[in-house]
Subunit: 248 residues, 2 copies
């Protein structure tokens, strides 16, 4: 499984992913699910992936190949595409193509299909900052002022905190805290989501990776935050009074 989350705020984009990959329950590995494509000051694209590792790795490799191609054009390279919407279209098309190709291979021996979805965020110089969720079929939705966050993978455990504290006006600093606490709840409840974590920040109009952190297992700041949140929840819980109903 996987948990990835992206926030689109007035101040910028905050993206967080875990790194656990499993084939069955007894084959667990660490793979980075965050991919950064960057031409600093001109364009930055961050992609988070969930789903079949074979599909996501192949898709990212193909996107890189298209960027490196001497004949790369606006239509083929996400580093040349005219807009972030065009970037999302290129990634979606590649994702669907690779998934179809791999599913075709798999179908010879099983009914399994390979699919994946991604969160894509970024900005090109002179353009708007945008954040998309791209589905396995290649179509996409976009973060908006009403719903400024997108999630893929095991999204349920970490959603309540986002619902309660994240809005378009949330500061980058609070947003970091929100995605880390959202991940913390997910890590506690689903073993197939695991450390280390990758955290990326892109501030508005920076058009580069403003901040990147790999948060390792046992990271003291993350551990302290996790403990403080547990304590805050328990303190909050103990302070709440449920008035005795009439028949108590």
């Amino acid at each position: 499984m996987t948990y990835c989350v992206g926030l689109l705020l007035k101040e910028g984009i905050v993206m967080l992913s875990d790194t656990r990959t499993n084939a069955g329950l007894d084959n667990i590995s660490v793979y980075k699910k965050m991919y950064v494509f960057e031409n600093p000051g001109e364009r930055v694209i961050v992609i988070l992936t969930a789903g079949s590792l074979s599909v996501t790795q192949t898709t990212m490799a193909k996107l890189q190949e298209a960027i490196d191609d001497d004949d790369a054009t606006e239509e083929t390279s996400i580093m040349k595409a005219r807009t972030m919407l065009d970037v999302a279209e290129i990634v979606g098309a590649e994702l669907a193509r690779v998934a179809e190709d791999i599913s075709e291979k798999l179908s010879r021996n099983s009914q399994a299909r390979g699919t994946a979805s991604v969160i894509l965020g970024g900005q090109r110089r002179g353009g708007a900052m945008r954040l998309f969720l791209i589905y396995p079929e290649g179509n996409h939705i976009e973060a908006t002022a009403d719903t400024p966050f997108l999630q893929i993978g095991e999204h349920k455990y970490g959603k309540p905190i986002l619902d309660r504290v994240v809005s378009l006006d949330t500061s980058i600093s609070d947003a970091k805290k929100a995605v880390l606490l959202s991940m913390d709840s997910t890590l506690r409840s689903n073993l197939s989501v695991g450390m280390p974590l990758d955290l990326a920040i892109v501030r508005y109009d920076d058009c580069r990776l403003s901040e990147y952190r790999r948060i390792e297992n046992g990271d003291p700041v993350f551990a302290a935050m996790s403990l403080a949140w547990s304590k805050a929840l328990r303190d909050g819980f103990s302070q709440i009074v449920v008035e005795p109903p009439a028949n108590d």
Copy 2:
């Protein structure tokens, strides 16, 4: 959808269910999902249901019919069964039988299957208090000291709070608060779980329903608790400091 949760504590059993039933997204109704079978002072059994309404209603009707039968025996009536384990076996067998019968009917016109699962808690005089989760196939698991709560239906949103605050030693009063807050998180995130709620408490060795409450939409105590929890979460969130990493 549905959310039902049961807690087995030293002080007793706490069970909570929602009442929303939907056929598709445009056909929503209120149905009670909590069934109480009681011979006060002798035996009390509380059942929470999730899944196909046709399966759960038919199963409960058959269980009642078996109780009312003049020839009811230890093997057929949950009010005569020797132990709570035997009760769970009778309910599991009936649930699987009804599901199979209904799926057989459905299969004539569609690939749909009717299935359901239940949480069953209770105590007979002289016996231990027990809490089971019975799967659609009729097999079951039981709450233990390590994991004193069981959930069916939309269980993910409401699990983090239970993981953090519920143990075997939790008081009935705190347990009520915990299941109501767990439900509150679920109601916020999944529209197919809805008010009113049914809350039942069975204190150890009471062998009767010690407390029952229907909590209606707009219930002032529940609304106040929900607000207080939101505030506690936001206050807790704002007090947590994420130390700036080295590269900030």
